[in-house]
Amino acid sequence: MATLLLEDLRKSFGSTPVLHGIDLALASGEMLVIVGASGCGKSTLLRLVAGLEVPTAGRIVLDGRDVAGLDPAARDIAMVFQNYALYPHMTVFENMAYGLRIRGLTRDAIRKRVGEVAELLGLGGLLARKPRQLSGGQRQRVAMGRAIVREPKLFLFDEPLSNLDAKLRVTMRAEIRRLQRRMGVTSLYVTHDQVEAMTLGDRLLVLHLGRPVQFATPMEVFERPADTYVAGFIGAPAMNFLAGRLGHGGSAVELDIGVTIPFADGRRPGPDGRKLTIGIRPEHVQPDPAGLALQVDLLEPLGSETVVIGRLPGGEMLSVKVAKADAPTEAMQVSFPAAHIHVFDAEAGLRLDATA
């Protein structure tokens, strides 16, 4: 168990900056999930912490010690790679025992320790197999086992579930969470999957093009997204955005589609006419016979619910999540409840909170 502190961590490959200053602090035993689209620098961040890449600037402090110059071997960190990276020529047992062998444990101690972890992961019967004789889920478990068995200070997970099928992903997700809680190892978990991010993390760091955009609990990220990028990235189906302007002395928004919505929680700063982006999640759009007409383009049944994708009179796309029984065939009327709208500045995309 250990704490991890990153201070203004930067990385450029040649003249291409990939990470623009990451700051974060992990408490002992905490699981932090870093979420972001492909190519935003998640793997690079993990590799910096692991010591596989050298940072361009910034500090990495593990348990109070600056590990900047240290070899990966000396950092006592374990990593679960996206494609598992098992040693193909070694059996499951040897894969897990490798790190212990290097640490000079006795043969008996190794056998005992690997046996315990294998039992924990349900790998007991597979110890003599080679990786190529295992299914994807089993390989994934071995990769986890190899990391766990060493009892490292820090776990790094680089999209460990992305190569599994959907069902297995759900079970493994729960299992990772259970193991992490039980062992209490400080963990950094990287994913591009927002569901994984929401369910796994104590806290989330949303990364966008190498910049941290929000660092908060999953619920807070969902309920109060820091900007339009986060708002659109977290939540499925994605949030709707509509253009509008500040009006009525800052107490309401006049949407370009001709609807005025008074803010439920207070005034927003700025002069009337300030350009705004209003976000509303599909599940919050209200079917309302007195509302705006929505021309249905497409229905996406999800089982008990249906996502309606349609167009407002001005041509703006809008998706609405309704109960299966309420699914329209051609058109429906909708309104936007004031309590559920998110207000963003149109230029910078940043969230605008009510001024008291």
Binding site: A50, G51, L52, D71, P72, A73, I77, A78, M79, F81, Q82, N83, A85, L86, Y87, P88, H89, Y98, G99, I102, R103, R132, R146, R150
Partner: protein, 293 residues
């Protein structure tokens, strides 16, 4: 996916493989058949009559201490050439695999020797090692070493081993480098995170994953050193001094072409041919297994 074209009839397919078949027959089956036939005949001292003697040439061969010596010499030579060229190539490949500046240039330099003809390479080695005119040779003599590979059998053996190995380093280098690069980087990184360093990591992770390539090259190098080094040896020492560098191929040439003992020479060729066949089968086995996995 496998794609197969089925030709109608028999004439066209036959026509298409004919050139290859013709080449095989003219340049391999025919001379090989002739060698097998010759190996069972013996000419009288004046070369006027030849008579069929069955396997007598082979019996003579294996009871001839000179031939047995030559086998031993060839084994030593092959082992040394293979070990030296593969060891050196592995070392170079490991360094070329790293992220270094000027890597492309370095690689081209290493691949070059492969394009040099045996005779040319031999001349280069003579220019280096000749006791009177060679750079290294003169330096050795000045440093007090009695260097003259034209008189000293051990030195001659060293020279042909080094020259033969040098020529094969490029080939080995290319394969070993490709082998190293096909090892997933993440596996090496996983080993680094597990705490494995330097030689230990190389021995426990890199080398085992390189084994298929190493086995393949082992066979190729044995074939090379046993059969393809004739040009190099002939140009450097002609098998001498005495018989110090007379490997099996050189002996075939000396007995057949120089001493005109066609029967014995043919029997030796047949033995060598069997050797090649065994090694080739081995090689295909290894290749086949690699592909099957």
């Amino acid at each position: 996916m496998e794609r197969r074209t089925i030709f109608p009839g028999i004439a066209l397919p036959m026509l298409l493989v004919l050139p290859q078949l013709l080449l095989t027959v003219v340049f391999f089956l025919w001379p090989a058949g002739q060698a097998i036939w010759s190996s069972m005949t013996r000419a009288d001292p004046f070369g006027i009559r030849t008579q069929f003697v069955g396997l007598e040439n082979f019996a003579d061969l294996f009871s001839d201490p000179l031939y047995v010596d030559s086998i031993g010499r060839t084994v030593v030579f092959c082992a040394a050439v293979t070990a030296l060229s593969m060891g050196l190539a592995l070392l170079l490949a490991v360094y070329a695999d790293r992220e270094i500046r000027g890597r492309g240039f370095y690689r081209i330099l290493l691949i070059w020797p492969y394009a040099v003809a045996p005779a040319v390479s031999a001349v280069l080695w003579i220019l280096l090692l000749h006791p009177q005119i060679g750079l290294v040779g003169r330096w050795l003599n000045r440093a007090g070493v009695q260097w003259n590979y034209k008189l000293d059998g051990t030195q001659a053996m060293l020279v042909v081993i080094v020259a033969s190995a040098w020529k094969q380093v490029s080939y080995n280098f290319i394969f070993l480098l490709a082998g190293l690069q096909s090892i997933p980087r993440a596996v090496i990184e996983a080993a680094r995170m597990d705490g494995a360093k330097g030689w230990f990591r190389f021995r426990t992770v890199v080398l085992p994953l390189l084994m298929p390539t190493v086995f393949f090259l082992l066979v190729v190098n044995l074939v090379y050193s046993a059969f393809d080094t004739f040009g190099t040896i002939q140009a450097l020492t002609q098998g001498g001094p005495g018989k110090a560098t007379e490997t099996l191929v050189v002996k075939v040439y000396r007995d057949g072409v120089v001493n005109l003992d066609i029967g014995s020479s043919a029997a030796q060729s047949v033995v060598l041919m069997l050797g090649v066949i065994v090694l080739t089968v081995l090689q295909f086995r290894f290749l086949g297994r690699k592909v099957a996995e």
